[in-house]
């Protein structure tokens, strides 16, 4: 659990840290869209170069990133294997029933690998350099136009930020409960499937009880401090669009256009 990097914030003051959350959020989204336009070695090279630049600008060591990707490696391998075994066309090297391996499928598999890596990298950069609360704020800003159609943007953003806020709390609580039940002789993560499922009960019941208690306390505390969801709410932290955002967007848009030009048509 502790080496699971995705969704953790690493304090810092790099270029990427200083960008406004809404622009980081949109840039990541834009980048993922561009990834799906890439279809040859040059386009992937351009995007990989861009992500390397982003990682450098985030001030987080690359080794640390690679370590964070490790827990997800089986997901990637599985996706790549599907791609290799089930895509058709090209010179076939080996086939068995519905499975076949050809030169095209190998290349596609390789591309799929890079694609997964790129998507994980960009989202990891986003969460490593942006606090959960800033991300929630960014979502709120990005979704603001939906207010016109009476979509409850503020409520949604509040729910999101509360949910994110409680992730570390619940993780801590889970750790404590795990330890307490271990001390009472529970063996987590060993034995038969049936045994493992029954071992989850002493973990989940206290965890949910705790979560519901937290929710109740929090809503009482919010009401006690006069919270309502109708008024226009001012913000303690205001994230403004900065020059860094403009420059970053310019670079990303240029690379995006480049990808459109050099992709295999």
């Amino acid at each position: 659990m502790s080496n699971f990097l995705f969704g953790r914030y690493l304090p810092g003051s790099s270029w990427v840290h200083q960008m406004s959350p809404q622009s980081k959020l949109m840039l990541s989204f834009y980048f993922v869209v561009v990834i799906f336009f890439a279809n040859n070695i040059w386009t992937y090279a351009a995007l990989s170069g861009l992500i390397l630049l982003v990682v450098l600008m985030s001030g987080v060591s690359i080794g640390y990133f690679l370590k964070g990707i490790r827990p997800l490696i089986w997901l990637i391998v599985f996706t790549v294997l599907l791609q290799i075994l089930f895509s058709s066309g090209g010179h076939v090297y080996w086939h068995f029933g519905p499975f076949s391996i050809s030169d095209t499928s190998l290349i596609n598999g390789g591309f799929m690998f890079i694609r997964c890596l790129l998507i994980i990298m960009i989202s990891t950069v986003l969460t490593l350099t942006t606090t959960p609360l800033a991300i929630a704020d960014g979502v709120q800003t990005v979704l603001r136009p939906l207010k016109k159609v009476h979509f409850p943007v503020d409520t949604l953003a509040l729910m999101l930020s509360i949910a994110l806020r409680f992730v570390p709390t619940l993780m801590d609580e889970m750790e404590t409960i795990l330890n307490a039940q271990r001390s009472r002789g529970v063996d987590f993560g060993s034995g038969s499937l049936r045994h493992r499922i029954s071992a989850a009960v002493p973990l989940l019941v206290p965890l949910f009880t705790g979560a519901i208690n937290h929710a109740e306390n929090l809503s009482t505390a919010m009401e006690a401090r006069g919270f309502t969801d109708s008024e226009h709410r001012s913000k303690y932290r205001v994230y403004r669009w900065q020059r860094k955002d403009t420059i970053s967007w310019a670079v990303f848009l240029l690379i995006g256009i480049l990808v459109l030009f050099i992709r295999k048509s």
């Binding site: 987080v60 370590k67 609580e173 271990r182 001390s183 009472r184 002789g185 002493p202 206290p206």
Partner: protein
């Protein structure tokens, strides 16, 4: 069995090898005597909880080794075959009522013994005995633990640990959030277990009054190190040092210090209320005998 716990050069780093790495213990060497009532004190984040979680191998050292009840825990210790050790070392966490999950009180208390392979009937007997120990009325056994009061829930949780019949009992701030009466009941229970059953008690606490009232040994921790280990009177003999450690004096000692500052000539700093009363009586009588 020998209940001595021996830490040798134990270092523990949380999330080693990441930017979040934190040294919680650095090269701790300390021996907790079997049969003692040892209090572990230190300000928040000094490594108290990390230290005690090594005793039943919930945490493993990053370097060094721990010897407890004939077992050695090293960085290479795997999670297998730890059951025997964990049966031997009972652990009551902070706010233990959070670990309750069963439908009835008795089932929850039986959970521990059953995990250690005890039969249903035996577990039920152990559970009833544990309920008696913590002072829970037998009529509560078929209630849902979630219907009980906070203090009762805590006692159910402690009974759940005692039912496993540990020889070493670790209590991590067992009285946090309890009213004075609940507080005293839990502390008296710890003393009873220590004196009548010969259990080794390890108490992590911020309550200095409990330290002087109940503990035979005290370990003071600061920044992941054991900075002092001795009897309560040795630890609290130097009020300046105690404040430097961001700790408090026992209330009797603090009162005595104020008396001294106010000009009352106390010869020593008493640690308990009784000794304080004696000292004050001594000063008054001493004063009268001069007249």
């Amino acid at each position: 069995m020998d209940q001595t716990i021996n830490f040798k050069q134990v270092t523990h780093t949380y999330q080693a090898g990441t930017p979040f790495a934190q040294n919680a213990l650095s090269q701790v060497s300390v021996t907790i005597a079997g049969g003692s009532f040892t209090a572990i004190i230190g300000h928040t984040g000094s490594g108290k909880s990390t230290l005690v979680q090594h005793i039943n191998a919930l945490l493993k050292p990053t370097a060094g080794e721990i010897k407890v009840s004939g077992r050695t825990i090293t960085p290479a210790t795997t999670n297998k075959n730890l059951k025997q050790l964990r049966k031997h070392v009972g652990m009551v966490f902070q706010f233990p009522e959070k670990q309750l999950f069963e439908e009835t009180v008795i089932k929850d208390i039986m959970f521990g013994p059953k995990n250690y392979g005890v039969s249903d009937e035996e577990a039920r007997l152990d559970a009833k005995q544990a309920m008696g120990l913590v002072g829970l009325d037998g009529s509560l056994q078929d209630k849902s633990p979630f219907d009980l009061s906070g203090g009762q829930m805590r006692r159910v949780a402690i009974a759940g640990v005692l039912a496993m019949k540990p020889e070493i009992l670790i209590l991590d701030e067992p009285t946090a959030g309890l009213d004075p009466r609940g507080h005293k009941e839990i502390m008296d229970l710890a003393e009873k277990l220590h004196q009548q059953q010969g259990m080794t008690i390890i108490l992590v606490t911020h309550q200095m009054d409990d330290v002087v009232d109940y503990a035979s040994d005290v370990i003071v921790m600061d920044q992941g190190k054991v900075v002092k280990h001795g009897e309560p009177k040795d630890i609290f003999s130097d009020p300046e040092w105690v404040y430097d450690m961001h700790l408090d004096l026992p209330s009797a000692a603090e009162f005595a210090c104020r008396l001294i500052t106010a000009g009352v000539p106390l010869k020593t700093i008493p640690l308990t209320i009784d000794k304080l009363a004696d000292a004050i009586v001594g000063v008054i009588q001493g004063g009268q005998s001069h007249e």
